[in-house]
Symmetry: C2
Subunit: 136 residues, 2 copies
Amino acid sequence: MSNENQELRKAGLKVTLPRVKILQLLESASEQHLSAEDVYKMLLEAGEDVGLATVYRVLTQFEAAGLVIRHNFDGGHSVFELDRGDHHDHMVCTDTGQVIEFHNEQIEELQHQIAEEHGYELTGHSLVLYVKKKDS
Amino acid sequence: MSNENQELRKAGLKVTLPRVKILQLLESASEQHLSAEDVYKMLLEAGEDVGLATVYRVLTQFEAAGLVIRHNFDGGHSVFELDRGDHHDHMVCTDTGQVIEFHNEQIEELQHQIAEEHGYELTGHSLVLYVKKKDS
DNA sequence: CTAATTGCAAAAGCTTTGCAGCGCA
DNA sequence: TGCGCTGCAAAGCTTTTGCAATTAG
């Protein structure tokens, strides 16, 4: 039994063709931050006959199951990435659209501290740096 | 001549009723983070006859003019706040929806540092902490 | 007077949902 | 077999746009 199938079962989801295909795609895609539309198009190009609505449904289920993380970088559309367990934030190049991942423990700690100082408990956060190449 | 009128002129925008009303509303609203829909409804309640499309257009112009800042907290819709010149980030309580502003110079510096380390220049950022009351 | 601005309604994106049929367990 | 899942098309939401009428300077 393949790895994908196990992950799906563990998530309480039936092992169906669309789900397996989407999970495989997310695991193998060179580009790690895909929109639902991206996933849909890549499946079509790969000859898989999956509906866009199903892509949305499956990605939403994967998110609920903790398999993927959904980001709302700018607004307009969401992008999804596989949750590999290593938390990181993102840097988006405003010229090329390229997405760079980074992790900074100091910032993580400061965030907790700030929440504490205001009498709150940090449950999550979203940090996106918008950058451009230094010579452009 | 009122303060609002001057600000509009400075931004190169004609002083029209919808623009003045929206600017006044943003300056006086107790709630500082309003969606276009919020602004629209508040204007209607105040007896002002402004179209929703105009609200969107005006807010977008204000953003371009640097009068307001647009945030995409969660996705789905944007919220706007007057740019008072004091940069800050936001904390959103996931229970109450309350928005708390904060500023942390250390985090700001770290962000620049991180961009630099990757060979980029920081042009902007979005940091939102999702929190909840400690005793809930 | 003239170009900018507005309101309305229609359109555009992204995402969700209803429903009948199909497929996994 | 039965319930979950899928595909399609339609609907929902926020936001944008076309256009004729209106208004500021």
